[in-house]
């Protein structure tokens, strides 16, 4: 099996083609803008917190397939979850994508494991994690985030792209 199949799996291609929760929310309680200035990827995440629960969530933007599929699967993964659960999944996703932790040690990743392959493609790690940075920023009321920001909210290791 050639390598690209490990990354461009059916699930990812499908979410890229038919992204879930794509669009905007009318009056989101939380919203953030995420950018990767090195490649021009741009994602907006909007959500409604109902108490501690993520009620509605939507994203839109201009990005590669990895980023878009990651955003799409992220919205389905965190919808209906509490803020704390969403943050925990976010941490696990980052740990997986950056190769810090093995899949086996992660308990909330589920179908998101299709992104494990990016760890071998340092130039693409940021594509996969940008939506998660943006979600984290939105939940913490940071209006915009960048994978290159000095005060990177996730403090995820950023490889040279």
């Amino acid at each position: 099996m050639s390598d690209y199949k490990a990354l461009y799996q059916e699930v990812i291609l499908d979410h890229n083609k038919k992204p879930r929760n794509y669009g905007t929310l009318e009056h989101p309680t939380h919203h953030a803008d995420g950018r990767n200035p090195l490649c021009g990827d741009h994602i907006e995440v909007a959500l409604n917190l109902e108490g501690e629960n993520i009620g509605a969530i939507a994203f839109q933007g201009e990005s590669c397939a990895i980023c878009k599929a990651s955003a799409s699967m992220m919205t389905t993964a965190v919808k209906g979850k509490t803020r704390a659960d969403a943050e925990e999944i976010t941490q696990e996703f980052l740990a997986m994508a950056t190769g810090k932790r093995d899949l086996g040690s992660l308990s909330h990743i589920g179908r998101l494991s299709v992104f494990a392959g990016v760890r071998d493609l340092p130039t693409r790690v940021k594509c996969a994690i940008l939506p998660w940075h943006t979600l984290h920023a939105a939940l913490n009321a940071v209006e915009s985030t960048s994978t290159e920001a000095e005060n990177d909210p996730m403090q995820a290791p950023i490889g040279d792209a």
Partner: protein
């Protein structure tokens, strides 16, 4: 395979004996992801032939010392080799005098030198600087910094849908406030070859000096700075089969002499007291500190290598590659070539419907095909063509028709994965 286009055996292709040339480039024997490397990112940086690598090794093993300083033998050898490299570069671009050739760290450094040395001395509040939509950030940002500092204005020459500069619009931008023109010879993002000789003549008729960013031209065609009559011409060694960290600024001696130094330090002075420092003559006035001696000597070897093949043969072979690739790719459904100027260098920027350039780059890389994806440090070009980024295949004289076929097959595979 597409049987309507078989690789043409042009005279140019045979004038450039590609197989023999490729044997000079050890890196081209690499495999990437189990596939032979197909290196099509030459506009970003080209590869070095063994002749240049050997020259660097010889310098480092038997000739290294600091230049212009000591009377010992090694320092004299290093100085002579360094100055010999300057003469090689002088002849390569046909500069009138060797003192018109300044060693810098690259195109970016060369342009910044002109901005500081010429711009900060001669550009005043209310003056206008003409640039073009096609410029690389290296020929935009320094001028923006200057404009901000001085209260000057930047005027921008627009392009048509093919990526060609609108020369009528360029000429209309001139007025009595116009004090400087900066334009690239060949576009790194689109491949457009700009009519710089005509643009320079027009600027001169208005008494305005012109800087040419030649980073993408010098590796691919014969450049004659006297024939062009440009005032400044900047380029990088690493795009010219030479090392990184070395580049050239050509400037007309009369202008260089009137300019202020860019950097202060050793080698650029004649005498220093705390009351007054007297600057050295050109080119040394602009070469403060210990230069990249090995880089200069390596670049000298690179232009020797290129001259031996011949810039005309190189241009002809690259044109054959461009024509072949353009013919193949313009037939592919869902593939759009961005930049279709009549006069083009061997650069093809392209988009595939429904596939982001990053995904294209990753998938092609799995096939061993190296292309650049992104904005190519030319965001105004991307904005003009309403794309966030493109994929770019850029060819060198050591590329082959078979490699064009690999690119085309790789693009088909991308389309299949994303079908």
């Amino acid at each position: 395979m597409n049987d309507t286009h078989t690789a043409p055996q042009t005279q140019a292709a045979s004038a450039c004996d590609v197989e023999r040339i490729r044997a000079d480039f050890p890196i081209l024997k690499l495999e990437i992801n189990g596939k032979p490397l197909v290196y099509l990112d030459n506009a970003a940086s080209s590869q070095m032939p063994q002749q240049v690598i050997d020259r660097l090794v010889r310098y480092r093993t038997t000739q290294h010392a600091n230049v212009n300083r000591a009377v010992h033998t090694l320092s004299e050898i290093a100085t002579n080799e360094f100055e010999e490299a300057r003469r090689k570069l002088q002849h390569f671009i046909n500069a009138r005098e060797e003192r018109e050739v300044i060693f810098t760290s690259g195109t970016t450094d060369s342009i910044n030198l002109v901005m500081h040395g010429y711009g900060r001395k001669f550009i005043k509040a209310g003056d206008e600087i003409i640039l073009t939509t096609l410029e690389h950030h290296a020929n935009i940002v320094p001028w923006q910094m200057l404009a901000e500092e001085k209260g000057a204005t930047i005027r921008v020459v627009p392009v048509n849908d093919a990526g060609e500069l609108l020369i009528d619009e360029y000429e209309k931008l001139f007025n009595e406030r116009t004090k400087f023109v900066g334009v690239m010879h060949v576009s790194n993002a689109l491949g457009t070859i700009n009519p710089i000789k005509q643009m320079i003549a027009f600027a001169h008729a208005h008494g305005v000096p012109v800087l040419i960013d030649g980073a993408q031209a010098v590796p691919h065609m014969k450049v004659d700075v006297q024939d062009l009559d440009c005032d400044f011409y900047a380029f990088s060694g690493h795009k010219l089969c030479g090392p990184t960290g070395i580049g050239i600024l050509y400037g007309k001696a009369a202008l260089l002499e009137r300019m202020q130094p860019f950097k202060g330090g050793g080698d650029m002075i004649l005498s220093v007291t705390f009351e007054k420092t007297t600057y050295n003559t050109i080119p040394h006035k602009f070469e403060a500190g210990t230069p990249h001696i090995a880089g200069a000597i390596g670049l000298g070897a690179a232009v020797d290598y290129l001259s031996e093949i011949g810039m005309d043969a190189i241009a002809a072979h690259e044109h054959a590659l461009l024509d072949y690739a353009t013919a193949q790719m313009s037939q592919m459904r869902g593939v759009r070539i961005i930049g279709t100027a009549k006069n083009k260098a061997a650069v093809i920027s392209f988009a595939i419907d429904g596939v982001h350039p990053h995904d294209i780059g990753t998938l092609l890389n799995q096939d061993g095909v190296a292309v650049r994806t992104g904005h190519h440090c030319a965001q105004p070009v991307m904005q003009r063509f309403c794309v966030p980024a493109t994929s770019r295949a850029s060819f060198a004289f050591y590329n082959t028709m078979a490699e064009v076929d690999s690119l085309v097959a790789g693009i088909r595979n991308v389309q299949k994965v994303f079908a």
